[in-house]
């Protein structure tokens, strides 16, 4: 049985959000869309996990929010990467690379 990719997403969503925000402040929907594009719609980014992740990251001060104006001309909450967020992304990236290399090596073994 093939596994649902969402299982792999779990735990890395926050890293993906951080990566998204390196392109500049953005609102929740845009973040979701950008991730979906980047992974070629391999799986949907669930609102039910996206927004709680954003709030948690706010609490951890990896991102901070401010009110801006959306493409609809409405007030919208924009998320911006903080210095702590940038630092977290860097360490997540290193950790992920090490992790995936290790897993790949194990799986490649005869």
């Amino acid at each position: 049985m093939s596994r649902d990719p969402v299982d792999y997403l779990h735990g890395t969503l926050e890293t993906l959000i951080l990566k998204t925000l390196t392109r500049g402040p953005n609102h929740g929907y845009a973040i979701a869309r950008w991730i979906e594009d980047a992974i070629d719609d391999a799986f949907p980014v669930e609102e039910g996990s996206l927004y709680p992740a954003l709030y948690r990251m706010e609490k951890k001060a990896w991102v901070e929010a401010e009110w801006g104006t959306s493409e609809l001309g409405r007030r919208v909450k924009l998320y911006r990467l903080t210095r702590e967020g940038r630092r977290q992304l860097a360490s997540d990236t290193v950790a992920w690379a090490a992790f995936s290399t290790a897993i790949t090596r194990v799986l490649a073994r005869g």
């Binding site: 929907y29 979701a32 669930e46 039910g48 927004y51 709680p52 706010e58 609490k59 959306s70 919208v76």
Partner: protein
């Protein structure tokens, strides 16, 4: 800073934030789906479907959001605090003079407070080491209303009938010769009933306490050691249990060791032995030598206990009328009995100390106010730039807190240094003082004090910092903290300080007057050049009173013949030593019953006694070598006793019954001389009726009253009498090398000790008062200096217009002194009210002594004027041209 600002502006409530965000999300999703060709209604439905359970998600987000805001506020508060503290520390470091001023002021106040508090805590507040202290009682029989000891017969009578106290125990202090490897040692011991341990419910540290069986004659050779003696004699080893101790040459088996805390109850007694009443002893109702201790039953009140004691005592008077006329019984809590005398003194000290602390806080507030005046522009600008009143108050509070904590630390260090000095300076006999230490509770109170002072010191300035008209501050360059509030505050502070200083200073002055009065009181004898030691003859060789008598006679003869000794004498209780042996005397011509008795201090002396003390003979003759037991029995009395016994009649040749009579069978002694009164208990105490018997004539039983112990005194032919200590030691050693000599002390030293307690209090109060005076002077100084700084321009103008410098000085000083004088006058009124607290410690001076108060006021005025003059003179050196230019 940007972040702070943003968080202040971030005011959207969390629920709206969540709703808007989710609405925005679904709208964008629906629009995108529609662009891909979906029906608008279907697109909206699909967007909504992808959101899942919207209400649940919203609720979850709201919860997360609130959590996030809480965390953020906490972080904000902490970072603000860090910021404030950082600023405060920078300020403190950038103004070392100011910081040192505040810190030293507080250190003085806090240091005095914590060290005195430590003493009060140890002596009064610390709980006693036994269970349920409110039920442990000291039980007395009273005679004519004053508390006293109890006879074995009376104790037994009470023990059998009193039901509200269980158990009721008895004990008596006694001293023992403890034989040792090299030097014999004289130790204080306690003989107690077995029930005595049950009263306190303190288990022994090791071993056991004695049983009721061991508290029987013939079984009583067991000993429980104090912790101190165990450490000293046995090095704290467990094998002390079972060891043998030779006390007064009799063997005692060690069965237990009490814990160290027990010392506060037993008055440093080194051993506790069974009292083992004999049946004969229990039949004696007349010798009141026992102290009683009991534990009140938990179901009765203290009043019920005393009611029952009074009832049973009435029965006792009925059953044994001869020995118990005017006798009753009562009880009080033991801890109060031990601490009682000291409580008021220490509370007075604590009060004075708190006052000094208040003065210190007031001074710190002065300094902060002055600094605030200097910074008023800075604070105004910050307020104008949007710093809230809360932020500014917190900033100023943080600065005060930093200063107070520094002051608190410095204060604790000062107390840590001062406390041992305080304990060392204290006289003997302050209960539990040795336990005083800067313990956790004391430190806690010290830190509380520091924080309280921070609030006191911080609230006033920050209140004034925010109660100002900002525009006015910015409009004219002059520091408008001088508007209306701060000068008023500072004047109120000065007035309060003046009032408090008067109270403390007046108290100290009254104590100093008392100390001077004490020194000028004639004692009635000459203390200089006299050395005294105590010698007790115990052991097999001294079983008979004849042997004791002979031994003392040969000791005195040996001393008289020693080089450097001009005269020697013996006394059962030399003046200023503090034992309290007395006998009931009945003068000739009065009915032979209890109502005629005059209680008088007894002295059993050798013929050289009055010559040695230079105690004047008012009438008749001194004792002579011929006054032997076989000759007519004679007596010498002091003037007080002569007056009480015979009024204006000539006492010489009249007879007084004392000491060895039986009921109905008086034993007469002829009065052969009258000597001048002596203040035996120190200069603060009035003379008592005293009588003297020749040692050669005292009845045999009297030797057991005084436990074969006498004071040996020698007067030096010249020089310091302490040089004769070796002479006394070797004379005693020649008698018997195992005999200890103890309490070798010059009479001058004894005099100093008798007034030590009063001196200790006086010194402490004087130190406190001086501290207060210095602080108050600093307060005046800083007020005037600040006034001069504030009015530099005005003074410059006036001097430019030709005002004489002396006139300027007068005006500035008058301005500063006015509130001081107002405070001074209210302080005098307060001092007259509080003087009453000192009543018990005053000697020949009233608590409202007008001369003392006048001197205090005069001293304060002079000091205040001097403190004001220094900065005021600076005003005259103001250069008008420069002052005007700067303006």
């Amino acid at each position: 800073m940007k972040k702070l600002l943003r968080s202040w502006l971030w005011h959207v409530p969390v629920d709206r934030e969540v709703q808007e965000e989710l609405a925005h999300h679904t709208e964008l999703r629906a629009r995108e789906l529609a662009e891909q060709g979906m029906e608008p209604a279907a697109a909206r439905a699909e967007a909504e479907r992808r959101l899942g359970d919207r209400a649940a998600l919203a609720k979850r987000l709201q919860h997360l959001g609130e959590e996030r805001d809480r965390a953020r506020r906490r972080a904000q508060w902490l970072s603000d605090l860090r910021l404030d503290l950082g600023v405060a520390i920078r300020h403190a470091r950038r103004n070392p003079g100011f910081t040192a001023g505040v810190v030293l002021t507080l250190a003085l106040g806090l240091g005095a407070t914590t060290s005195i508090f430590s003493v009060v805590h140890a002596v009064v507040l610390a709980p006693f080491p036994y269970a349920a202290p409110e039920r442990v009682l000291s039980v007395y029989t009273t005679w004519k209303g004053s508390n006293g000891g109890t006879s074995a017969g009376n104790f037994d009578y009470l023990r059998q009938r009193v039901t509200t106290i269980a158990p009721l125990s008895a004990a008596a202090f006694s001293s023992f010769n403890l034989a040792g490897d090299d030097q014999p040692e004289r130790i204080l011991g306690l003989r107690a009933t077995a029930s005595w341990f049950d009263v306190f419910e303190i288990p022994p540290l090791i071993g056991r306490t004695f049983t009721a069986t061991e508290d029987q004659p013939g079984h009583e050779h067991v000993a429980v050691l104090s912790h101190g003696l165990w450490k000293r004699r046995f090095g704290g080893r467990a094998d002390a249990i079972g060891a043998t101790l030779r006390l007064n040459n009799e063997p005692y088996t060690v069965i237990g060791v009490m814990p160290p805390a027990f010392a506060s109850i037993t008055d440093e007694a080194s051993v506790i032995l069974p009292i083992a009443f004999t049946p004969e002893r229990l039949a004696m109702y007349d010798e009141h030598y026992l102290e009683m201790y009991g534990r009140r039953r938990p179901d009765v009140s203290q009043a019920q206990v005393n009611d029952e004691l009074a009832r049973v005592a009435a029965d006792l008077r009925r059953d044994h009328p001869e020995q118990n006329v005017d006798r009753s019984a009562t009880s009080e809590r033991l801890d109060e009995a031990i601490v009682g005398d000291f409580r008021l003194r220490l509370v007075v000290l604590l009060l004075a100390v708190s006052m000094v602390l208040v003065i210190a806080c007031g001074n710190a507030a002065h300094l902060l106010l002055a600094r605030l005046a200097a910074r008023s522009r800075e604070l105004s600008i910050r307020a104008a730039l949007g710093a809230g009143r809360g932020r500014i108050v917190r900033q100023v509070l943080a600065e005060s807190l930093v200063l107070a904590l520094l002051g608190g630390i410095a204060g604790v260090v000062a107390a840590w240094w001062a406390l041992p000095a305080l304990i060392a300076a204290a006289p003997d006999g302050v209960p539990r003082l040795a336990d005083a230490s800067l313990n956790g509770r004391v430190l806690f109170v010290a830190v509380l004090l520091a924080i309280a002072s921070a609030v006191i010191v911080g609230v006033l300035p920050s209140w004034s910092a925010t109660n100002r008209n900002l525009r006015q501050d910015l409009g004219d360059g002059k520091g408008t903290v001088s508007g209306t509030l701060v000068p008023w505050l500072r004047q109120a502070l000065i007035a309060a300080q003046a009032a408090i200083v008067v109270i403390v200073l007046a108290g100290a002055a009254l104590l100093i007057r008392s100390a001077i009065n004490l020194q000028e009181v004639p004692l009635g004898f000459d203390t200089t050049g006299v050395l005294r030691a105590r010698v007790g003859l115990q052991g097999d060789r001294f079983r008979s009173s004849e042997a004791v008598k002979n031994a003392f006679a040969s000791l005195e003869a040996r001393l008289s013949a020693s080089p450097g000794v001009s005269v020697s004498a013996l006394d059962s209780q030399a003046p200023l030593v503090g034992s309290n042996g007395s006998n009931g005397l009945i003068p000739e011509g009065r009915p032979i019953d209890m109502a005629s008795i005059i209680n008088s201090r007894s002295h059993f002396v050798t013929p050289g006694y009055f010559r040695l003390l230079r105690q004047p003979l008012r009438a008749g003759r001194e004792f002579a070598a011929a006054d032997l037991r076989s000759a007519p029995l004679v007596m010498i009395i002091n003037e007080t006793l002569a007056r009480q016994a015979f009024g204006t009649l000539d006492p010489i040749g009249r007879r007084i019954s004392c000491c060895e009579g039986k009921p109905g069978e008086p034993s007469w002694k002829i009065v052969v001389g009258v000597v001048g009164d002596v203040r035996s208990r120190g200069p603060a105490q009035d003379p008592l009726p005293e009588f003297y018997l020749p040692l050669a004539q005292i009845p045999e039983v009297a030797w057991s009253w005084i436990n074969n112990t006498l004071d040996v005194m020698v007067r030096a032919a010249e020089g310091d009498p302490i040089a004769l200590a070796g002479t006394i030691r070797s004379a005693v050693a020649e008698l018997d090398p195992t005999l200890p000599v103890y309490a070798i002390r010059t009479m001058d030293e004894g005099l100093r000790r008798s007034t030590a307690q009063a001196r200790f209090n006086t010194v402490l109060m004087t130190l406190l008062a001086l501290t207060g005076l210095i602080l108050a002077a600093l307060g005046i100084y800083s007020l005037i200096a600040w006034l001069v700084a504030q009015r530099t321009r005005e003074i410059g103008v006036r001097m430019a217009l030709g005002a004489a410098p002396s006139r300027v000085v007068r005006q500035v000083v008058a301005h500063g002194l006015r509130p001081f004088v107002v405070g001074l006058l209210s302080g005098v009124a307060a001092a007259m009210a509080t003087g009453r607290l000192l009543q018990g410690q005053l000697f020949m001076v009233g608590p409202r002594d007008p001369a003392t108060l006048m001197v205090v006021v005069a001293v304060l005025l002079v000091v205040a004027a001097l403190a004001a003059l220094v900065p005021a003179r600076r005003a005259t050196r103001i250069d008008p041209a420069q002052a005007l230019h700067e303006a």
